[in-house]
């Protein structure tokens, strides 16, 4: 095992980076359906297939419900599969999200995140992903095109290791349509990292099995408990896969990423590219102005990396969680905030924690906004949810 020497760097949007990762992985079946801001992923994949660069079957489905259903069928048959969606598409898939996880199928899906109707908005926030967070899928949220590319490759390894479907999400538009330099791996090396695993149970007339049976109250709970265990296992395996990927390709991220947290008194916890980037810039600004500020980014969102998040926040005096989604009517409207609050409560930790809702429907999050959060934490550390950037 050695770090790759020759570098192949392309200027790519995150969406195109996803397509390049899919090509490198040698995916067999891809369900294609347009929805903004995901569409350019499947456009690029279609180009690869049309040019003979990717030997895959494209299924041009008539809806996202069928997109996920088709890859469920293909994955059950033993194929390596991929699809992508956003927003209303993820909502239309929702029924099948649970089924894909319950059937323990290694599906990888890209989700450049987008706001939900009504009113209709094509712009980014994480309302779509957060509605899917408890469906039994592994969920990554990437913060750069490079990381998204690397994460798709890691996602296939993880999915095939623990028999769970995996979503790779990132900011709609702010990442999906933003060009960044992306170092592409040698495709031969990617295929060595992802050997064709022999899955014991697939649809094959030589080895007939019944998939998707009816489970009575005597059995159903055991199936569901096995999913709980599989997600716990995925927490461990995700770290191993990330480490091995780092050894092979020279890039790894951990499940939680931190910035200037070594001596930080105040932290912003965030996910996705825009929030993380602006929070880092704000932390730099805050430190220039005398606040010991840092940032914690949750990269693996499901299974929730409780131990890593708690460790990262161990020594701060107060922290804020920036959520780009609203859980209406919830005791705290930010989904990540609720996760961290629950994790801390269960571990007997009581710290001032500010919930910040921002970036809804791609409302601009300014660095100054993030800086203001640090000042709020220092001046009046408290437990409260604030809606930032909105006209009230």
């Amino acid at each position: 095992m050695q770090v790759q020497k020759t570098k192949h760097i392309e200027a790519l949007t995150t969406n195109y980076a996803m397509a390049y990762a899919v090509k490198a992985v040698d995916v067999d079946v891809i369900a294609v359906y347009p929805i903004t801001p995901q569409t350019t992923i499947v456009e690029k994949i279609s180009e690869f297939v049309a040019n003979g660069e990717l030997n895959a079957e494209l299924i041009h489905v008539e809806s996202e419900h069928s997109a996920l259903s088709a890859v469920v069928g293909a994955a059950a048959t033993g194929a390596r599969v991929f699809t992508a969606t956003s927003s209303q598409g993820l909502e239309l898939m929702h029924e099948v999200l649970h089924i894909a996880a319950g059937m323990r199928l290694p599906i990888v899906m890209a989700v450049p995140s987008r706001a939900l109707s009504a009113p209709i908005s094509i712009h980014g926030d994480y309302s779509d992903l957060m509605n899917a967070r408890d469906t039994g899928w592994v969920i990554y949220i990437a913060a750069s095109a490079q990381e998204a590319y690397d994460t798709v490759i890691q996602a296939f390894r993880l999915a095939e290791s623990v028999s769970l479907p995996v979503m790779v999400s990132y900011d709609g538009f702010l990442m999906s349509h933003t060009v960044e330099p992306v170092e592409l791996n040698d495709e031969e090396e990617v295929r060595k990292f992802l050997p064709r695993a022999l899955r014991p149970y697939t649809l094959n007339p030589k080895r007939p099995v019944t998939m998707g049976p009816l489970a009575s109250p005597d059995w159903y709970y055991e199936f569901k408990y096995q999913q709980v265990l599989a997600l716990k296992e995925a927490y461990k395996v995700a770290k191993e896969v990330d480490s091995e990927y780092g050894r092979r390709f020279g890039r790894s991220y951990g499940v939680v990423e931190t910035y200037r947290m070594e001596d930080a008194d105040y932290a912003i916890v965030a996910y996705g590219g825009a929030s993380y980037g602006n929070a880092r810039a704000a932390a730099d600004l805050a430190r220039e102005r005398g606040i010991a500020a840092g940032v914690v980014r949750v990269r693996l969102y499901r299974p929730f990396p409780t131990a890593d998040v708690l460790k990262a926040l161990d020594s701060v005096k107060a922290f804020a969680v920036v959520d780009r989604a609203i859980m209406f009517g919830s005791p705290a409207e930010g989904p990540l905030y609720k996760d961290i609050a629950a994790a801390m409560y269960m571990h007997g930790i009581d710290k001032p924690a500010l919930g910040v809702i921002h970036g809804i429907g791609q409302r601009t999050i300014y660095v100054e906004d993030m800086y203001k959060i640090y000042t709020m934490l220092r001046e009046n550390p408290r437990k409260e949810v604030v809606f930032m950037g909105v006209r009230v």
Binding site: E62, G73, A79
Partner: protein, 314 residues
Amino acid sequence: MKVYYKTLKDLPREELFAPGHRMCAGCGAAIAMRWITKTIGPNAIIANATGCVEVTTTPYPETAWMHPYIHVAFENSAAVASGVEAAIKALRRKGLWDAGDTKVVVIAGDGGTYDIGLQSLSGMLERRHGVLYILYDNEAYMNTGIQRSGSTPKFSWTTTTPVGTAVRGKIQWKKDIMGIVMAHRVPYAATASISHILDMVNKIKTALEYTSEGPTFLHIFAPCVPGWRYPENKTVEVARLAVETGYFPLYEWDHGKLKLNPPSNAHLDKSKRKPLKEYLKLQGRFAHLTDEEIAELEKELDAYWEYLGKLAQL
């Protein structure tokens, strides 16, 4: 259709639909499943929509299916089968498929086909997947307890179209699912009835072989004892009368040509059809019908036959 079987003795003896399932005594769909599985042979993958057949055949940890079988949800069996077919193609191309010429077969009820599954069926047909889609039609949502579907015939009693003083059974006509499928210009689509087994198994085999060209479709008439309210020993008789009265004509659509099959090929002449009343009177779901209502059904049936006659001349 091609005649693969001259008598039932020509069919494989091997049974691929195991006993012990929980289908009702006299279930028409169960009869269909036995002949379907036998005829398609072991080298096939079955995708089943949610419905009576699905819940009664797969009570974990048991299964009646000796084929590789997948059930995902109610409305998406055609999409699932599209994925299975695409996977076999891709894996074969990469040298990763070891089972040879594996066929893909969907089994879905009328709710899963006429109503909630119509979109995914249309998508599968339009994309020309090499899949045989078999609809077993018992004319209502029987699994959930006899609710009206797009396939339920006019005036029929169901639990959501009760016979009351203001409304008497279903108000609308049965949807023409074959017309919808044929409009997709599939290579082959046919109707069949569990009462006419030789006709049915030859159509199953013909449709299966045509999947090398694209999607094929079978509409199999499968009476339901509790839903139609007739004695459980009358299933085949009810199905046969449906054909003999012209209520459910046997025909096939083979590469753009419509052909009526025996005995329906004689039924363009109305005098050769048994009176519709003979079919209706066996069933409790039609017990409330007045002579006027029966006359209305007959009139509509005549119009349908006129339409079929025109199609047969194309």
